[in-house]
Each structure stands twice: as C-alpha cells, then as structure tokens.
Symmetry: C2
C-alpha cells in the first residue's frame, strides 16, 4: 500500500524521504526522485510531516515510541499521519507519546486496496487535533478521493475503519450463506448476486466481492486472509474494551481461523466465504479456480 500512496505524493510535487524495512522495496520510489533514509526515524525532521503505513499495532508503537522515536525526531511541532489499520487504543496511547515529545499525531486509516491507492481512489478517515488535520489536508488529498473527519479523539478514525472492515467481512458471510443456500436449491448463484448487487446492494463491496464469492475466485489476493483475521481481532478487542458483544464478529473470527487451518492463508480475505459452502458439504470449494 505504501508504494502507490508515496508515488501519488511524489506526483503531487512533494519531496519525499522514504524508508522500508526491506530496503529494495523503496527503490522504485528512488527512481521517481525520493531520497532514502537508512533508519525509520531519519525520515523525520523537526516540524516536518511523516506518513506511516505499517503492519500492525506493535510496528507502529516501535516506530513512534521505540529507541529511534519518531515522536522525538518530529518535535517541535512536526506531524505524524498514521495510516495503518490499528487499534483505537494504540492510537490514543501513541498520540499521548507524541504530545509528550512536542509533536502531533493525526490518525488517517484508509479504505481501498493497492489498486485503489494507485488510482488515488482511497477513502480516508481522519481524527486528531484540528490544526494539524488542516495542515496535512493537501497531503491526504494527494492520496485519496474523499476524506471524512471524525473529530479530535485520535482513536476515532480507527474505530470507524474497524467498523467498516467488520461490515465488509460480515457481508462476505451473509453472501456466502445466502449463495450456498441458493446453489443447493438448484438456482444460479452468479445470476442471483448479479441481480442483488445491481439493485438493493448496488455498492462497491457487494459488486466486487459478490462476484468473487459467487465464482469462488479468491486469488490473487487483494488483501490477504490473515490480515483480515488481524482486523477482526482488533474489532473484537475494541468491542471487549467497550463491553459490546458482537456475535457476528465472533463467527467471522472462527471463519478466518478455519480458513487458515484449511490452507487458505494465501487467498483473499473474502475466501472466508468458503466456510459456509464447506459446512454445506459442497466439494468444489477450494477456491483456486
């Protein structure tokens, strides 16, 4: 995800210093004019703007508060735009670390796969201090097609991002159960989802994933299945902290775990849809065709 997003920043005229744990991955950006930093903290300078797109809570915490702390390198008054899908809790904690060092964190997780990032079609949710959000707005505009703000609680945008990813995965389960029932009742699941996703459910999620589920086509992966499990675990963790039972999220967690157990970790996260088909005794469900 970082690659197309950074490319769009360069295309918009920004001078970038880039860092990736795997140095070779940054090379295409160097050929576009970016500079390479040897350590993550070196991308930052006092008062600058840093965009991070990482793996998870712990890699974000290592970046912001680890031995080569970004929070310190950005001070005074630099801004860290945190775009990884992480927990609201870690975002709130690291926003305080930034504040303690005199820098600022803006949370800005995104909806969209790498191809959407390349096409500048990301939807971006933001939260954090208003003045910092106003200052980084042109940077976000260079990466997305729309920005939605959720106030000054730095964790708010992450709550919305997790809400959205949960709703996407829940649609996989609903489509999967429904289309398995349709198929085993002798009706064409492809025609069925084409009808529903062009009328009542005429939206990107149902159109894009509905076709994949009806055709059982889960490779190549746009978003690998174990990353879906990571996000559902974050949903359940956030729900636990807020005392919210989420029976559908619990079911989805088991679907992800079962899919990994069945050797589907390299597939797209929508391959959890094979679970309902498996349970109904459908044999032709390995999903690789």
């Amino acid at each position: 995800m970082g690659m197309p997003m950074a490319s769009n920043l360069i295309a918009a005229g920004y001078q970038l210093t880039v860092y990736n744990r795997t140095a070779s991955k940054a090379e295409p950006l160097l050929s576009l004019g970016a500079h390479r930093a040897d350590r993550a903290g070196d991308v930052a300078q006092p008062g600058g703007i840093v965009v991070s797109m990482l793996a998870d809570d712990s890699s974000l915490e290592a970046l912001v508060a680890g031995p080569d702390a970004l929070a310190e390198h950005l001070a005074p008054d630099g801004i860290h735009i945190s775009m990884t899908t992480v927990s609201p809790a870690i975002t709130r904690k690291l926003a305080r670390v930034h504040a303690d060092h005199g820098s600022v964190m803006v949370s800005a997780p995104v909806f969209g796969r790498p191809n959407a990032a390349a096409a500048k079609m990301l939807w971006i949710c933001t939260s954090g201090p208003n003045d910092a959000k106003a200052k980084v707005r042109p940077v976000l505009d260079a990466m997305g097609q729309g920005i939605f703000d959720f106030g000054d609680d730095p964790g708010a945008a992450n709550v919305v991002k997790l809400c959205g990813n949960f709703m996407i995965a829940a649609s996989f389960e609903a489509m999967s159960e429904a289309l398995t029932m349709v198929q085993k009742s002798g009706v064409d699941p492809v025609a069925t989802i084409e009808m529903l996703s062009s009328t009542l459910f005429a939206s990107p999620v149902y159109q894009g994933y509905g076709a994949a589920i009806a055709h059982r086509k889960f490779t190549p992966a746009g978003f690998r299945l174990p990353l879906g499990l990571k996000d559902i675990d974050l949903v359940l963790k956030t729900a636990t902290e807020a005392n919210v039972p989420m029976p559908t999220a619990s079911l989805l967690r088991d679907r992800f775990i079962s899919a990994i157990a069945k050797g589907r970790a390299a597939m797209d996260w929508s391959a959890i849809a094979l679970g309902a088909a498996d349970d109904a005794g459908l044999k032709d469900t390995q999903g690789t065709h």
Copy 2:
C-alpha cells in the same frame, strides 16, 4: 402492497377484477374503475391472467388448491402470477396443481416497500414456463422498474427473493453490532454510517436502513417485524431442505423472536438492530424516537 400494484395496472390500461378478504380494502380500486369479485376464485376466467399478493404459504395454497380453486378457474391456459414472498417448496407444489388443471403458474416475488410499489419502482424476480413469462411480461412491466428471470423452475424466483431478504436482515445485524461498537467507543454512529453508506456501501439497503439504525427510528414500519420473522423462517426451512447450515440466519431468527418478546412487533423489521444495543447495555434503545 396489492393496492399500489393494482393501481399501476389500472393506470397502464388493464381492466381489473379485484378481490380482498377485507372487502372495504378494494374500494379505492373500484373508484378507479375495477370490478369487485365476491370470491377469490371469481377474479379468474378461462385463459385469463390473475395476479396474487397474499400473506403466506397457506393463504396461497388455499387460493390455488382450496375449495374454490384458482387453478381450475383459470383453465385452460390461464396464467397465475404469484407475487407473494413464499417458500420455493409451496411454489413448486402449486405449480404442479396448476399444471394438473391445465393452467400455469409464474412465480414473480418483488423487492420493494409499498411506496416503491406506488412509484412503480419494484424489482421483480421471475421463474416458470418461458411462454407464460413472455405473455405476462407487459403486466409485470406495469408494476416494476426491472425484471430478473431465473429460469423455468417455478421455485427459483422465491429462492432469490428469500436470499435477498436474508441478506437485508443480515445487513441490519452487521450495522447494529458495528454501530453499537462505534457508539460505545465514543464515536458518532450517524457520521460513521453516513460515511460508509456513501462510499463502500453506497446502496439502497445500507443508505435507507443504515440511517434508521443509527438514529434508532423504527416507526412507522415499512415492513412489520413479524413479517421479517416469517421470511427468515422460510429461509431456514429452505436451507434445511437443502442441508445448508446458516449461522447468521439462525442468529437473525433469535433477534426477531427477542424483538417480539420485548414488545417491538409494531416496529419496522430493522428494529432487530436494537438487539445488539440491548446486549451492550445501552438503555436508550426503545426505538420510538
């Protein structure tokens, strides 16, 4: 539902003979030029076309195969367009009854509330014999904005209709769990669903019901909650016959039963969304404001 659909048929120039169990309900149609039948079977004549919109499987069976059998009144070669949301099983059974009498059944369940019916905005699914479907096509066109055919198995259209209603109800549960998590995490559920339903989930179901769920506004009912339970029971019955476990449908059934137990039977079926909020200890969830 029958009233606006019949009105559109009259507006399209069809001469109607109408029947309703509650005679007074047919009166607005009489003032538009329809004739009234004293018994249901009297709406039919040999070789004619009858449209039925009823309550459930048993009322459809009584109409087609009861003492004053429609299947017999329509013979030879009349066509019964069955538009009620019923089980595929009863449709297949009654299609055979029609065939035995020399008449034909076309299954044509619809998606859309009464206001959509009035605006001729219904989506209609069809299945049954091709020549009969071709003959009644203008009648269906006079009532809907789009017709989707699912082949000659008379039950097929009902399978698709149940599939769609299940997916709608599943979206209520997903939105409900998600927005409860959002609200209890200190984030605005209205802003959240506005964002999601204008981007990833930009479709009639998420936009219409998402706003109702976020605002907890479930009255007046567009489709009363017990009718939703009826449909989920048909989904589960159909799934049982096809040996398809549907854990989400089972959860939804319990949500409907619980909502009725809590006195919400007069609300819209989307009021099952109060279940997740109740479970999370939210007090302000009676849904009448």
